[in-house]
Symmetry: C2
Subunit: 294 residues, 2 copies
Amino acid sequence: MMTQPSLNSLHVAIIGMGLMGASLGYDLRGRVRRVTGVVRRPEAVAATEASGCVDEATVDARAAAAEADLVVLATPVRTILRQIEELGPLMQPGAVLIDMGSTKTAICRAMAALPEHVQPVGGHPMCGKEVAGLEAAEPGLYRGCTFVLCPLPRTASQALELAQALVAHIHARPLILDPERHDQLVAAISHLPYLSASALVAHVMSVAEEDERVWEVAASGFRDASRVAASDVRMMLDILLTNSSAVMNALDDFADQIAGLRRALAAGDEALLTRQLEAIARARRNWGKNRQTH
Amino acid sequence: MMTQPSLNSLHVAIIGMGLMGASLGYDLRGRVRRVTGVVRRPEAVAATEASGCVDEATVDARAAAAEADLVVLATPVRTILRQIEELGPLMQPGAVLIDMGSTKTAICRAMAALPEHVQPVGGHPMCGKEVAGLEAAEPGLYRGCTFVLCPLPRTASQALELAQALVAHIHARPLILDPERHDQLVAAISHLPYLSASALVAHVMSVAEEDERVWEVAASGFRDASRVAASDVRMMLDILLTNSSAVMNALDDFADQIAGLRRALAAGDEALLTRQLEAIARARRNWGKNRQTH
């Protein structure tokens, strides 16, 4: 067992050098003993090292995981599921395994099956950008964002403390949640918005079949409401398919909300619409205000 | 009849000194003979004149409309409907009446009932900001945005040319549409996004009743997808209630799109989801790209 872990003595292996992994690398390099970045394609090794976000880049995930004190999985969710199984058992006794995947139930279940000598902690930083990849990565990406941590019942307190030290180091705000609750909450605020944005674009596509000038009149309202529909589909499918029951519940309630608004509109019930839409507008404005003070 | 109208000789009356009206004032003042801004509250006269967006401000809409060569209605849709009826008949022979309301069928129908001596043109600039009011107004607001014009069958060509000169002057892109088609297109790209954003917030509110930390995990995806739900409810109700049949059609297709995505997710049909979501993501990215080149 590692005793009193502090970040600066750690060898950190980050698996996956996309936006999230590389941004974490920028924040850690020079502040920890060593940052190893694992990439998938041999051609990416040189560019990753040249970017300055790691001390060294490699395609050898197994060797990197075997050497590190802290392994961070920064790949799509179903890749994380495979890597937990493949890399976890190779890790050193007491080494800590954190992931940054967007759903947590399936991942924490896979972590629970790891050999006892590994210390797993589920993680999910609630930030991102429209653009992905090493080129979009930047120091300070995590500053001010909520970083969910899901310790397992088996997770030692010092492993959780290490995860919390990592979150503090990158100036994120830790929030401990159990995996099922996490998945229910993110279904509401992330997975449902992705699907509703996608359905919005699908509707405009169907209108465009009749009159393509619809794209010309689309302005900032459509731009913002539909932005996440341009997300990477492979990444989103990993998320949706590992959280489908929470997502379907969210879709069902959302469909009810849409149907309720339609009924009030069909009835021309202005008083009801006013009451409902004012309450919604107030809740949205309050959230926006509180969020800026964080 | 006015002959060969050119902007610089005009006395323009703008009714309503909110974001749209006051921004138009900034762009016109000093470039036309006179800009009169009509406000609702006597207390607003001094602030409007101090802002510099008009040559003079007044609460007397009837006098302003009677004196102007060009009257621009920049109020909420149902106020515009009343003002067409109240102010239109007072206008000078050959004077042009333009509105900036967000729905066009009801407005153009009201314009069609005006006395013959008035020249009406429906208008809708497709721009806006989260914030409303005189304080949010700015020169250049309309630059680059699509400005829909709906001439009536009775509209003289020189009245339409004046409207087009106005659009060109503020560096917007004119798009001539018939009112019903306009309303169908904006139902898709503006009114539906408002209702879907509202339903999204309503869902999060219902999740928050059980666990209010849902607000804490909400990040940029939720922020953008829900932004328009914070719009001014009175303004939006004017829009929804004067365009309810197109909005309900849009809601129905949207509900079908949501149901289709849910079915594919329930079936775990990854191939179908990939195909649909990739086509949607591609359409959204293409729109974003084309839009930047305008």
